[in-house]
Symmetry: C2
């Protein structure tokens, strides 16, 4: 019996199961004779023919699945080598698969690109996008990003109020090894330059400790507080991730030759630098870590709808051709399109230069982009202090 | 012109401004001749007579203020000494204060107890409770706790789904120096023992590294994942906070004489211990830090209503007497009462022994308590893996 196989790869998001639901419902509508199979833990499960039959999933189960964050089919970070590719293609043949829809980021697109180039069958390979990093090329933005970005915006707005109530310096370290979108997103909710985050450090710009300390001193001097959004992937001037430099216990010197950061974890070392340079200030460094990426309390309605639509579009396209679904924005509306897999596979989209007004601040253009995506900031009372 | 003075002390919560609003509205209704003054940054502002007139605050401003998390009047952790007490009492006299309502935790109650005992005027001193730690004695629970606890429950439920999708070990470090309520609260959402958090380490029970490693190994072996909720205030067998021991760079030995943790930050060291004992596992340690205590996206409706009611009750009581407002639960409903200030001042409520079934698990009684307070868990789909 012919089938369509769906799987999920990479880190989870708040809405990745919406994409799964969109694909299931559309596949069913397009061709009622198809079995719809879900592979557990991505290609890892597919290699073992470990699949679950999703054809008869009820409407209420679909609704609950869609509203449950994180990959319902399980996930994997496995990158198949040539031998694994052969096993996967054989498994798809054995399952009489007419299409394989793989929901994931650029590594997932890369896996599909590999498979499609090696396949000798009529099976189509369609990539449905998801990532909180927003780092897929050819996309205006990516399903999963808006919910995660909204969590980060909520976090920094809340912390801003916290530090209005009691002055001090706060650094929140945000996921993002190569792209700063998630770290910069809370600037969407800035109404004046007094609103947090006051400083934004993304992997796209060099992170120099002496500049960081000077930036913080300027804001803290002006406002009595300073809220910093910092990517976990910030890099030194030579392009080495700071976290790696620190992990290696290497010696960091700023432009003035001062040793600044040595050994250990990024957050801990940033905390030490603050203690050294601002010994009297209340200073706190938090690592937001995994919290933004599938938070039960912050699932954005637009993100949910776009994720569902991307899955449905993937299933439609899979009737006839392979490719990567991307979200296209025409200046008015966002809609899915299909592009060749190798246009997305293995590539990383970065924040453009025009999104920055300095190494530590986001430009009006950058803010406008995030403002277009995120829900409006709640109507907050301006504190009496 | 006679006045009533209101201030906020200590760490903020998501609903502390509801208590402020409740006090303002009730004070106005009780005696329209009173000026209602807010002291900026608690007793620090009061000493400087730095007050804002709240008498004419509009209904729409009150609504926005109430829905804005974190202390709108600003806060302080200052503990007045005898000389400062004299300055504060003189300031209250100069403002013709009939009452001073101070919203805060047990330190704030302590300040009011001091002031009330030194005062020679007719001014009443009323403590309105707030704390995310839930550690005020004589209270069933404390305004601010439910919202923070819901955030923590959302976080651990989300992470549980994340680690179902990709196996591994997660440790979330939760605020709470002396009381484990906030850390244990996510057990409210456990339906089976497969649901996170699988292990709970609170300051009330000794934290032994070898036991921790054995506990994690057992859960990880059974489920392929292990989600741990750990208080930042966990203590070793001698009652010393582990974070302090680590900060001092002291040597930790487990029951078997193995050196386990040395130097540095709690989360970092827990991460190292996991790497040592589970070298092949995906392991992650996040410090939730300030996020739960005033998160814009998670403000519970019950918490909001109880916080408002506590403020309104404080203003009513302040017409005639001093004391600490506590939330009393009669087995059916929660309502505010007034108790003497010294019954609450400077004391810490701990999780009772009956809330634990072991050093790392919460009992049915404990879970039932948290389940009564928190909103029900969202109806989640059980993943296919």
């Amino acid at each position: 019996m012919p089938s369509i196989v769906i799987a999920q790869g990479g880190g989870p998001t708040a809405v990745i199961n919406q994409t799964l639901c969109g694909a299931i419902v559309a596949a069913r509508q397009n061709d009622a004779s198809l079995r719809i199979l879900g592979a557990r833990h991505g290609v890892r499960g597919l290699m073992a023919k470990d699949v679950v039959d999703l054809t008869q999933l009820s409407a209420s189960d679909l609704a609950r699945l869609g509203n449950t964050p994180n990959s319902g089919l399980g996930s994997t970070r496995d990158k198949p080598d040539p031998s694994a590719c052969a096993t996967i293609l054989a498994a798809l043949d054995a399952l009489d698969a007419r299409a394989f829809i793989y929901i994931g980021g650029n590594d997932t697109a890369g896996t599909l690109d590999l498979l499609s180039k090696r396949s000798t069958s009529a099976c189509r390979f369609v990539h449905a996008p998801k990532t909180i990093d927003n780092d897929l090329v050819a996309n205006d933005h990516v399903p999963g990003f808006i919910s995660a970005a909204t969590f980060v915006a909520q976090a920094f707005s809340s912390v801003d109020l916290d530090f209005r109530a009691m002055p001090g310096i706060y650094v929140g370290i945000v996921m993002g090894r190569h792209a700063g979108f998630l770290t910069a997103a809370p600037t969407a909710w800035q109404r004046t330059e007094d609103d947090a985050p006051h400083l934004v450090y993304a992997p796209e710009r060099p992170f120099v400790v002496s500049s960081f300390v000077a930036d913080v001193a300027a804001v803290y001097g002006r406002l009595g507080r300073c809220i910093v959004a910092m990517s976990e992937g910030v890099q030194d001037e030579t392009g080495r991730p700071l976290a790696e430099v620190l992990a290696a216990g290497a010696l960091e010197r700023d432009a003035h030759g001062n040793v600044q950061l040595t050994g250990g974890d990024l957050g801990l070392e940033i905390g030490k630098a603050l203690k050294t340079h601002f010994p009297k200030a209340r200073a706190r460094v938090d690592t937001l870590g995994y919290l933004p990426r599938g938070f039960l309390g912050t699932i954005d309605a637009t993100d949910r709808a776009e994720a569902y639509a991307a899955g449905a579009f993937a299933a439609e396209q899979a009737l006839t051709r392979s490719g990567s679904v991307v979200l296209h924005y025409d200046g008015d509306r966002t809609a899915p399109r299909l592009v060749p897999l190798d246009q997305v596979a293995g590539q990383t989209r970065h924040m453009p230069d025009s999104f920055f007004s300095s190494d530590s601040t986001v430009s009006d253009e950058g803010r406008a982009y995030f403002r277009r995506l995120l829900p409006p900031r709640p109507d907050l009372f301006t504190p009496f202090v």
